[in-house]
Assembly symmetry: C2
Homo-oligomer: 238 residues x 2
DNA sequence: GCAAAAGTGTTAGCTTTACACCCATGA
DNA sequence: TCATGGGTGTAAAGCTAACACTTTTGC
């Protein structure tokens, strides 16, 4: 079963989400950074950050490296989204793209070099992108929204400790709808995913809220194909 | 941004599920076909059916073609599972595998050429496979079990029309646990996914059960990245 | 009639949702 | 003391799970 030359280029791209106020509503919402293409095809169009896979790096390493090189971002969460492999998705060359999605905190997002060639856009209001990237972003947004409800990805938008209101605001920003504060509190408290700390936040003109942290002792669900193994397939950097 | 030679081989493999009686319990359970390797690496080990991606075929087409060539199977359902890209998953060569999972009916499964080099195994009791294929099968099995509960993939194991008992037996085989017939009936009836036909099945020594078919007019959920478009990313062949 | 599976009814317990209300702090 | 968000209480509605019971067929 000898293999002849395939001549299929293998690329990785990443949809990176951060939360920022939406320009229209003013409410916190998902934004993504895009990179302006400086060569054909789709020259001068906005596209997802990405690049080629090197022969001696894993797909995930390739995604993280390209992310860092093009946007200077190091995400706190990185997960594979889908492999896109239609024959005509790139003119001329045959390119298969393994796409990842990532989450960064607002403070990390500000460290990305923004400028002529890198700019952040509200994820629900994008220009026409290069290749099939509009479809990809829509799918990533759908995954983010479904997964925030049953997993603990919201932590990637938060610091080590946080108040329940901060956690709820992350959920509201992702889902783009208000949540009942009382019921939200009971849901997360009964889920056992959080542990209260001894600290509260003082300084507000109101009762000081308690700080929580994530409970690291409980096992995760839907952690990808290697999630049942000792080493997860999703990269979580605290 | 000129790209030098990557020398990364792009392969597809597929985890194909069919339902058959389990050799120990006698109850219906998921089985998968495996292919015996006839060359290094992992010569003589069992492995998932698969092969290389041709330059001018999509990933999904490549999966379907390799399936047909190695096992003579044409699945009724085919969906991408995950792209596996660890550097050392194949010795010597660098191989990235885009893995699909597929469902076939029992009658279709019997048409696969079984023999020295192709054999069916109970999915929960496999020998040590080539490469990382044990991990892949476990993940596919997890996806099958979670997805059967919220989507309509069970249809891929059934004919055009079927009784509610037949549908329930598919769920029981996948989940490997008995379900309450009365509650199962109410769940699927209230979901609106099924439409009763005018026909019943006669011949049993009991009240003749009604035949149902799937309601094609309702929109699907979680149909992959292209699921929101007119053409789905999952292949459903009736 | 009787066995067997189809199909309906009923109830206890749990979860969800909506919203009223009290609490603790800074100004 | 008042405004503000933190946090608790509560009840209606809906859903789930378990199981009793009725229906319709073949023999």
């Amino acid at each position: 079963m000898a293999r002849e030359r395939q001549d299929i280029a293998l690329a990785v791209s990443t949809v990176i989400f951060a939360l920022r106020p939406h320009p229209e509503t003013g409410l916190s919402a998902p934004w993504i950074p895009l990179v302006r293409r400086i060569a054909a095809p789709f020259e001068s169009r906005w596209a997802l950050p990405g690049g080629w896979v090197a022969p001696r790096e894993s797909l995930e390493d390739a995604a993280a490296r390209n992310l860092l090189e093009t946007t200077a971002l190091e995400p706190t969460y990185l997960e594979q989204l889908y492999a896109f492999g239609a024959v005509d998705r790139s003119p001329e060359e045959r390119v298969v793209s393994v796409v990842y999605w990532a989450l960064v905190r607002a403070d990390q997002a500000q460290q990305s070099r923004e400028g002529e060639n890198v700019r952040w856009f509200p994820a629900d209001d994008l220009p026409q992108l290069a290749f099939d990237h509009n479809v990809i972003v829509d799918y990533a947004l759908w995954r983010l929204r479904t997964k925030v409800e049953y997993s603990r990805i919201a932590r990637a938008f938060l610091g080590e400790t946080f108040t329940l209101t901060e956690l709820r605001e992350v959920h509201e920003a992702v889902l783009q709808k208000p949540l009942d504060a009382a019921n939200f509190r009971r849901q997360v408290e009964s889920s056992g995913t959080l542990v209260p700390t001894d600290s509260v936040v003082t300084g507000g003109r109101h009762r000081p809220p308690r700080l929580y942290r994530y409970n690291e002792t409980i096992e995760l669900v839907d952690n990808g194909p290697l999630g049942h193994e000792k080493t997860g397939s999703t990269r979580v950097v605290s």
